[in-house]
Amino acid sequence: MNIEGKHKFLASQEQIWDLFMDQKNLEKAIPGCEKMEEREPGKYDVLLKIGIAAIKGTYTGKIEVVDPEPPNRYRLLGEGSGSPGFVKGEATIEFSQEGQHTIVSYQGDMQVGGLIAGIGQRMIGGIAKMMAGQFFKKMAKELKSQQ
């Protein structure tokens, strides 16, 4: 399943790059992120409690930042598994300056496996998009709080 989107931040590309490289921010912004520990540089162990309405699932997994090209792009790998099945994703995050704004765009592929995939196909795409949106909103909030 393809996922893509973009978000506009009012800050310089370097600021936004740093924002996205900072584990504390990611920890706050990743939907349902309960715990995030850096195993080695750019490699994190995460515990996610993802809940939409009554649908809740706990996933343990990894997030990995690869091929960083500061301050322009990096690739994000993620995978997690839990009782509802598993999620696995890969996205390229790109940063570009537009006036005082920085555009962060992402494009990637996501897999959802197991229970949810079998019975929830009707909404998976939309909900993935919704959660990406939540992530960027929270990042914007972090940015504000730091400005």
């Binding site: 496996g113 995939a117 019975i119």
Partner: protein, 813 residues
């Protein structure tokens, strides 16, 4: 006429042919049926199965300790146990994959069993499943039939080395000659979807094991025993007689899905053996829609060598079936079952076939109502329409042009099928009349001028019944077959007895799922013995310890109305013969002087010399010394009837893959909404030759149900996967079984051309329109969309799919 065609004379009958109400209904209407889940045994525990969320992965480890300590859990079974306790299931291909009843070290489709929890109740068992952790190492997946054959594709089974389970070439007649004589060659590529039977009752098993006698008792709702009683015994490494199968009187639908080997019989048996408890497992709907069985999806390349006048000289095709992560019995039957009727209703003497059976990371397969005839006829009947449009010929005319003629029966096909009887012209004409064909075409033209898309579709197909198990051996080339033991047969057994007080009792093992066998058996016996159907009790269930059965026994391939009926008639006639001998002896007359009327045996011409049949029965049981010299006491007769036409394949790979061959003419008129792609069925005529009609009400029920099932595969149902191998139709919310709102009115007609090789002239009718409807609807929609330049080569035709086809065509022009 080939000498195997032992012919029966068919006389007028009292009860056979009447729309008798079913005996079965009284229990089913009042909630007194006995289905699998209704069986409760003392101290029964309940199993739940952990299933793989990955389509293809190594199992690196399983941790069950937390689940084992969960209150109420009685034991857990994993692949490790399975490997120790059982063998892979045998299957008739040259290099069989190692298919165990549970994944050992690798999973190959989403939903494959990985572990079994046995607990005090199903709720607890499912709680415990959540506590088992499995460490998977995901592997690349292969989902596409044709990609599965490419050398780059990930290989599912290392011991095979490729994803090809079975591969053969066949040549019948002289295709080169056909090409030389042909004016043109018309080609098509067709993709038949993966869809299933989804009976409303899912699978179920109850197993118990006695460690001292080492006996298994296994309740299940399988449509056999068929071959699978033996195959499960081999998998469990035990003699057949150490495994008693009992099938409850009622099965909540099967339609083929319950004739595929289901691994759960072995799996739950092993769970019972390991835990030492009686274990019940009832498949839930999600499990069913992930991992039960579907028909094969098939890609077919088919081409016809034709003359300008529409004569089809020959066919060449390459068909690739997909049996998913493994292959199991009765596969690779998918590729060979329809061999004898591969050229359908037409006089086609030349044929080149290539068949392949491949594996992908999808759910496994089993017969689905019409076992691969849907796949065959979707390509053959679509191709006939493509030929017609190439030649600018009417789609009805081209069929008449190529039909086998009434005076050609019995007709031996190029591939070895022996069509017993038929009049295809008459059946098809009735279908045409029912939709008022000429007028319909005029309306279609008018409608087109108004921008409305009306289409008329036909499919005229041979409806084979009573498979001859010989066809499975075609998976091996003749020289290989010669080395092994030949296979053939189609036998079904019944016992008929008359009790000491003169009531008639039939003991059958036909394992029905609602076809009304008990009612029809009593109709037949009533005619044979001159009694009332209510005086005939039929006990029909499977118990491998006390029923007479053979390897072919079961309710599949529409066997009842041809082979079981013949067994019933034969047994009843033997019983009657014995009674007449006794009566002749007691009345001091000759057998040929006697006749039976309303339960009385008379000496012709002297009505005073007579006796009640029940007195004959009484003598046979109560006064055994009065019987003729050397005659056995009592009144019991058994017949295990097999069709003489069930012979092994010959050295040219010709085989009579079925035994009776009915005929179906489907005619459907559709209107496609050009804006939404929705399909509305305006007219539907379904005309059948099922030979002598045994019970018109029951026959109509079989046809209507099969039409709805075929409609599902045409427009609604698909076992769908995403590109990563996830099954995305695991609930009835997304797997779309048609409801009463989707199934339109259907005008059913009958032409009775009796079969000479069955006792009553009846042919099979259970699989029926499921074979013809997908092709017919495909043809109708193709005809409707023809003005837009859209061609139809795949199913199901959802509005979304049709809309995209229309857009694509628009963008081309």
């Amino acid at each position: 006429m080939p000498e195997q065609l032992k012919t029966f004379e068919h006389k007028k009958r009292n009860w056979v042919g009447k729309p008798l109400k079913r005996k079965e209904d009284l229990r089913l209407l009042t909630g007194r049926g006995t289905f699998m889940d209704d069986i409760r045994l003392p101290d029964m525990k309940h199993a739940a199965i952990l299933r793989s969320p990955y389509p293809h992965a190594w199992i690196k480890g399983i941790n069950v300790s937390e689940a084992l300590n969960f209150p109420g859990v009685r034991g857990i079974l994993t692949g490790e146990d399975i490997a120790k306790m059982s063998n892979p299931f045998p299957v008739g291909v040259q290099v069989p994959p190692k298919y165990y009843c549970c994944a050992i070290d690798k999973v190959r489709f989403v939903g494959e069993p990985v572990a079994v929890v046995v607990a005090d109740d199903r709720y607890v068992a499912e709680d415990a499943l959540d506590l088992i952790t499995v460490d998977y190492e995901p592997l690349p997946v292969v989902m596409d039939i044709e990609e599965a054959m490419s050398p780059e594709a990930p290989v599912l089974h290392d011991n095979i080395g490729s994803n090809i389970y079975s591969h053969r070439f066949f040549q019948y007649g002289d295709m080169d000659k056909a090409y030389k004589e042909a004016d043109l060659v018309v080609k098509g590529k067709f993709h038949f979807p993966k869809y299933g039977s989804t009976p409303i009752e899912t699978y179920g098993v109850i197993a118990s094991y006695n460690p001292f006698s080492e006996d298994f008792v296994i309740y299940n709702n399988y449509q056999g025993p068929f071959v699978n009683h033996s195959l499960v015994a081999i998998a469990l490494g035990i003699p057949e007689n150490k495994m008693r199968w009992i099938v409850p009187t009622d099965i909540g639908g099967g339609f083929g899905t319950k004739t595929g080997l289901y691994p759960y019989i072995a799996l739950i048996a092993l769970a019972a053996k390991k835990t030492g408890m009686t274990v019940k497992w009832i498949e839930d709907r999600r499990e069913h829609l992930l991992a039960s069985a579907t028909g094969t999806d098939r890609v077919t390349y088919m081409e016809a060598a034709v003359k300008k006048d529409g004569t089809i000289l020959g066919l060449k095709d390459k068909a690739i079936d997909n049996t998913g992560g493994y292959i199991r019995a009765p596969e690779p039957g998918c590729a060979y079952r329809s061999t004898g009727n591969h050229t359908g209703a037409y006089q086609i003497r030349n044929l080149d076939r290539e068949v392949l059976v491949v594996g992908t990371n999808k759910c496994l397969t089993a017969p689905n109502r019409g076992y691969t005839c849907q796949e065959l006829y979707f390509s053959l009947e679509r191709l006939i329409d493509l030929v017609a449009s190439e030649l600018g010929m009417d789609t009805a005319e081209i069929r008449f042009k190529n039909f086998i003629q009434p005076d050609q029966f019995p007709y031996t096909t190029a591939t070895g099928g022996i069509y017993d009887a038929g009049d295809y012209q008459k059946v098809f004409q009735m279908a045409l009349d029912k939709i008022d064909y000429k007028k319909m075409r005029e309306e279609q033209w008018k409608a087109r001028e108004e921008g409305r898309l009306i289409g008329i579709g036909f499919s005229t197909v041979v409806d084979p019944s009573v498979t001859n198990i010989a066809y499975v051996t075609l998976a091996l080339p003749p020289e290989e077959r010669a080395k092994g033991h030949p296979k053939s047969g189609s036998g079904e057994a019944v016992i008929i007895k008359m009790d000491p007080l003169g009531t008639v009792h039939v003991i059958a093992c036909t394992n029905p799922q609602g076809q009304g066998h008990d009612t029809v058996i009593s109709q037949i016996v009533a005619d044979e013995l001159g009694v009332h159907p209510d005086d005939v009790t039929v006990s029909n269930a499977v118990d491998t310890h006390d029923r007479v059965f053979s390897i072919t026994t079961g309710s599949y391939s529409s066997r009842f109305s041809s082979v079981v009926t013949t067994a019933v008639v034969t047994a009843a006639r033997r019983l009657k013969e014995k009674m007449l001998k006794i009566a002749a002896h007691l009345l001091g007359a000759n057998v040929d002087e006697l006749e039976i009327q309303e339960g009385k045996i008379y000496v012709k011409g002297s009505p005073d010399k007579s006796m009640q049949m029940r007195h004959v029965a009484g003598t046979a049981h109560w006064n055994q010394s009065a019987l003729p010299e050397g005659m056995d006491a009592g009144l019991y007769e058994t017949c295990l009837y097999t069709m003489p036409t069930s012979q092994p394949p010959d050295d040219l790979d010709r085989v009579n893959s079925s035994n009776t061959y009915g005929f179906i003419a489907e005619a459907i008129v559709v209107e496609v909404d050009p804006e939404t792609g929705e399909v509305k069925i305006l007219k539907w005529a379904s005309v059948h030759d099922a030979g002598t009609i045994l019970n018109p009400m029951l026959l109509e029920g079989q046809i209507l149900g099969s039409c709805a099932h075929g409609l599902g595969g045409s427009l609604y149902e698909e076992w769908a996967y995403d590109e990563n191998g996830q099954c995305i139709t695991a609930s009835f919310q997304d797997y779309l079984v048609p409801t009463a709102m989707e199934v339109p009115k259907i005008d059913i007609g009958h032409v009775e051309i009796p079969s000479p090789i069955t006792a009553l002239g009846s042919k099979g009718a259970g699989e029926s329109s499921c074979m013809s409807v997908p092709a017919c609807i495909g043809n109708a929609i193709a005809d409707a969309l023809a003005p837009l330049g859209v061609t139809i080569s795949e199913l199901p035709l959802s509005p979304n799919k049709i809309w995209h086809l229309i857009q694509k065509a628009k963008n081309h022009t």
